[in-house]
Amino acid sequence: MKKIFEKAAHAVLFTSSTVSIITVLLIILFLFREGVGLFGKKPIEDGQVLLVNKLNPVSKLTSDELKNIFDQEYTNWRKVGGTNDSILLFRIDDIFNYYTEEELAGIDTNIQLLNEKVSELVGKQIGMVAFISKTQLVLNNKVKIIEVEPVSVSGFFGGELWFPTSQPAAQFGVLPLLLGTLWVSLLAILIALPFGLATAVYMAEIARPSVRSMLKPVVELLAGIPSVVYGFFGLIVIVPLVQQLFNLPVGETGLAGSIVLAIMALPTIITVAEDSIRNTPRSMKEASLALGATHWQTIYRVIIPYASSGITAAVILGIGRAIGETMAVLMVTGNAAIIPHTILQPMRTIPATIAAELGEAAKGGMHYKALFALGCILFLITMLVNITVEFISGGKRIKR
């Protein structure tokens, strides 16, 4: 009887840990399956094609070139390696500019006629590029379909434009988001570091036990306040403050985000750093004091060097926390997806982009996949942070 219970308990425990393991692996699987799906696909909307004259030597365009063409930044085919002809944009509504009402008689009911007219027109105009739906496509011997270059890994990481919904081709350049994330998080850590380390040293070495037992709940509460409350506080207090202080048109800037993130990263830094400072062997401390060093000399010559790996781990974990923070950043940084030049301009981070755009992205579409790819980047950053911390602490237990 006893044995059966033992066996049953073992089975239950085994099952639940298997379920846990499977869910962990499922998360990775789902994230990367969707994210990797972005690459190698054409960033043009499904069911749409670009039609040009057959005499046009250009046969392939990148999505950046397409954007420039349709924004009329490029007005000559030479810009994209073609002949010296001006670019004529054509969307289906433009048909009335080229044909008279009589020529188009009955077009409302006769789709076939419309399609033929479009192809005929493109066949006549050497510089024309038509953005039409596949169902409107009638190929004749004077037109051809222009290919759009698929999204590549280098284009994704090196691209400077993030216009995931732009027509005809979306731009998935992650650089502005990546830089925005790094600027905001790194500045946040720079702000948080002096406060965090000072508090960690103070709590571990200087403060009386009664003071320490008052500081500990403060740190725990700072960690416990929901991020959306920080965002709310940032929006109402810090954003106007930044705006007034630097005399800016808008207060929603990278700096406002950094300040909020600095407060949010503090608990992580303090807890991990204090833990490692307290782990300094008593004998080392006492040896230093016995040699006549003052308490302060002991702290900065013996204790801090000894705890330096733990302190580094604290900083890295703080950065990791800052990079992944979503809601507070979304609420205060202004969310402009442009490459930042100063910290005093609106910025957009990777997590904020996912939170802001996933609601609008069509399920399974390019935009949706691109957001999952951003999720993969976040996951990889977290992994990097964890492995680095593991490596730095060298097997020493780091409490988080």
């Binding site: 789902f30 000072a198 979503t326």
Partner: protein
């Protein structure tokens, strides 16, 4: 005073000052929200439906929604997490696989919550077809707290000296009996503390529920696990950032923020009390 004492004096006071600033920051945030929120909070605010485009009325459906999500996620994550933690610490042999699992759970505990939101949307909402529902949201939030619960359980168990296990075996107890009668009662307070802190975290999370359950405005209570609900953190987010009534709904926002903070405060204080009690008990032993 000698120079080295002067430098010590200066350094210690700088540390003291910087620590004090952190306390002041917390006090500033709390008092800012409490002072303005208290004016809004009333029995009616907590128990009535939002009205007039969420500028009037209360936040009752959001509170109920958050309670549903917290309950749902914990029903899923707590037993699974504790059982997994026990298995990993007490049964699993130290192989590469255990190391790998540890790395993975550690990793997952640090993964940004928005990534859980992405996963929850992809698996629960789309692939399994739950739609935006309490079920999908609870499972997503449960996954978020699963690695944390596994880890607190493991830590709690690891903190127990091996002599207790050996003593129990020496008395002829089986492994299961040892775990049930000796190990778990000792680890219990730490596990419960972890549980309370997870509840605190789950009730304040916004990013994972954005695309799995949260409704912008839904002035009715859920009738089943496949319903959408409003939730406190998401409610605070929407009334401060979107909509045309951002200014007029400020009061509601302060009230909602205060309710969230009170929840977190209560949970944190009870966790601290339990830990204090545990420490006293440990000292008494």
């Amino acid at each position: 005073m000698k120079t080295k004492n002067i430098s010590e004096f200066i350094a210690f006071n700088i540390f003291r000052l910087l620590s004090l600033i952190i306390v002041l920051v917390l006090v500033a945030i709390l008092s800012f929200i409490v002072v303005r929120g208290v004016k809004v909070i009333s029995w009616e605010f907590i128990t009535s439906m939002p009205k007039e485009g969420m500028t009037q009325g209360g936040i009752f459906p959001a509170i109920v929604g958050t309670l549903c999500l917290v309950t749902g996620s914990m029903v899923f994550a707590f037993p699974l997490g504790v059982l997994s933690g026990i298995y990993m610490n007490e049964y699993m042999r130290a192989t590469w696989f255990k190391k790998f699992m540890k790395l993975m759970t550690n990793n997952l505990a640090g993964v940004p919550s928005i990534v859980f939101g992405l996963f929850g949307m992809s698996l629960f909402v789309n692939t399994l077809g739950f739609g935006d529902s309490i079920l999908a949201g609870s499972l997503t939030l449960g996954l978020l707290s699963l690695p944390v619960i596994i880890r607190t359980t493991e830590e709690a168990l690891k903190g127990i000296d091996n002599t207790y296990r050996e003593g129990s075996y020496a008395l002829g107890a089986t492994k299961l009996q040892t775990i049930r009668r000796v190990i778990l009662p000792m680890a219990y307070p730490n596990i419960i503390t972890g549980f309370i802190l997870s509840v605190g975290r789950v009730s304040g999370e916004t990013a994972p529920i954005l695309f799995t359950v949260a409704a912008y405005f839904l002035p009715k209570l859920p009738s089943g696990v496949f319903d959408q609900v409003m939730a406190l953190p998401y409610h605070l987010y929407v009334i401060t950032t979107s909509g045309t009534n951002v200014e007029t709904s400020r009061g509601m926002a302060y009230g909602t923020a205060l309710v969230l903070i009170i929840m977190v405060l209560v949970l944190n204080i009870s966790a601290t009390l339990i830990r204090k009690k545990l420490n006293k008990k440990m000292k008494a032993n």
